[in-house]
């Protein structure tokens, strides 16, 4: 059986540190949009021969009501076919509408209509790329208006209708739970845990609204992972049967590589604690039976 794995988001600034410490890094995740040129694809293919690789997409806008763009999918398909990563992923978000580019991932209204359209987009993507992406929950600072489903229901329905796996971003869950006052552990209890194939962890920071009246936890990937996120990771490890692949995301303000490696060690310890809890719970259940 495959083991739990812990890895890092590939960033050029971290390249040397990553290559020096591949014995402590089980897997890398690469932002696909940065490597769409022919020579970049060759470089990535070389990297994929040395370490298991996931490709992460950020601008397809799969969960929008507009059809996912065929040219963008074609470019991604060329990359994926050449690099042959273990898996690829995208976000449950829209990034543009009516010719307006938002610039980042936005939460669409969570409705039956967006479940249907996301499923349609995922089928189209699978047809062009050759495989379904893992789909990631996003952080949002706005509760999407006109929603008729909770985020958990929405994610569950998309996963069921499309049969896609999930990339569970635990800092996004934690940030949304903090900003909109819900229990993140309950969130985990209400999504199809058996569909979770990969996990993101990251750090964030507090920001104020422009008038200073509200505080928000922003998912900025510029800070170290905090204890509540590790606790959620243990919770997932206690709930999930399947082996987990956990990726630490860091997008800037890079600390020394030693600090990132320590975060990876802390990640392994959090997974181990959850797995241990699962064993104990199973033993209690068996004894009771």
């Amino acid at each position: 059986m495959q083991k739990d794995r812990v890895g890092l988001g590939w960033r050029p600034e971290l390249a040397l540190g990553i290559f020096k410490n591949l014995d402590q890094i089980d897997i890398l995740e690469v932002i696909g949009n940065d490597y769409l040129g022919a020579s970049q694809r060759d470089a990535l293919r070389l990297l994929a021969r040395q370490v298991p690789l996931h490709i992460h997409g950020i601008d397809l806008g799969m969960a929008g009501s507009e059809d996912v763009n065929s040219k963008r999918l074609d470019r991604l398909a060329r990359l994926i076919n050449q690099v042959e990563p273990e898996a690829w992923s995208e976000h449950l978000a829209f990034v543009r509408a009516g010719e307006v580019e938002i610039g980042h991932l936005a939460a669409p209204p969570r409705t039956e209509a967006s479940v249907e359209n996301t499923t349609k987009n995922l089928r189209k993507a699978a047809g062009i790329v050759g495989s379904l992406p893992l789909m990631e929950n996003i952080a949002t600072l706005v509760q999407p208006p006109c929603s008729s489903l909770s985020e958990q229901q929405w994610i569950s329905r998309i996963a069921a209708a499309s049969d896609c796996g999930l990339l569970l971003d635990l800092h996004n869950v934690y940030a949304n739970a903090t900003n909109f006052s819900f229990d993140p552990a309950q969130f985990l209890a209400e999504i199809p845990m058996e569909k979770v194939c990969c996990i993101h962890i990251a750090g964030g920071r507090w920001i104020s609204s422009p008038d200073g009246s509200q505080q928000y936890l922003l998912d900025d990937h510029l800070h170290e992972v905090t204890e509540p996120v590790y606790r959620l990771l243990s919770e997932v490890a206690a709930r999930a049967n399947q082996p987990l692949t956990v990726i630490l995301e860091r997008d800037g303000e890079y600390p020394p590589m030693e600090a990132l490696l320590q975060e990876l060690q802390r990640t392994r310890a959090a997974i181990a604690a959850g797995r241990q809890r699962r064993v104990e719970l199973e033993k209690v259940a068996a004894d009771a039976a």
């Binding site: 543009r96 307006v100 938002i102 359209n117 706005v142 999407p144 006109c146």
Partner: protein
């Protein structure tokens, strides 16, 4: 319609003028964008602070992308120049 809601949301996130008008009279702006009365009411319940904070965050991301694309463009020129000199 979902598409109309997303189109208006995208404009609210990306265009400060329409955002200001929306915050002054949300139902009017929603109606002008073809939203149903129910959708107009739901949009009007969005918290102004949430919308403004999210828009500011999106604006920073857009600026960051512009900066990066500018850098990449310069880098491509430097590389091309280097190739040309070595040739």
């Amino acid at each position: 319609m979902q598409h109309d809601v997303e189109r208006l949301l995208a404009r609210l996130y990306a265009d400060s003028h329409i955002r200001e008008r929306f915050l002054m009279d949300p139902e009017k702006i929603c109606a002008q964008h073809g939203l149903s009365p129910d959708e107009c009411r739901a949009m009007a319940m969005m918290l102004a602070q949430d919308l403004q904070t999210a828009s500011r965050s999106f604006e920073r991301k857009r600026n960051l992308k512009l900066h990066h694309s500018g850098f990449n463009s310069v880098w491509r020129w430097v590389k091309a120049l280097g190739n040309w000199v070595s040739w």
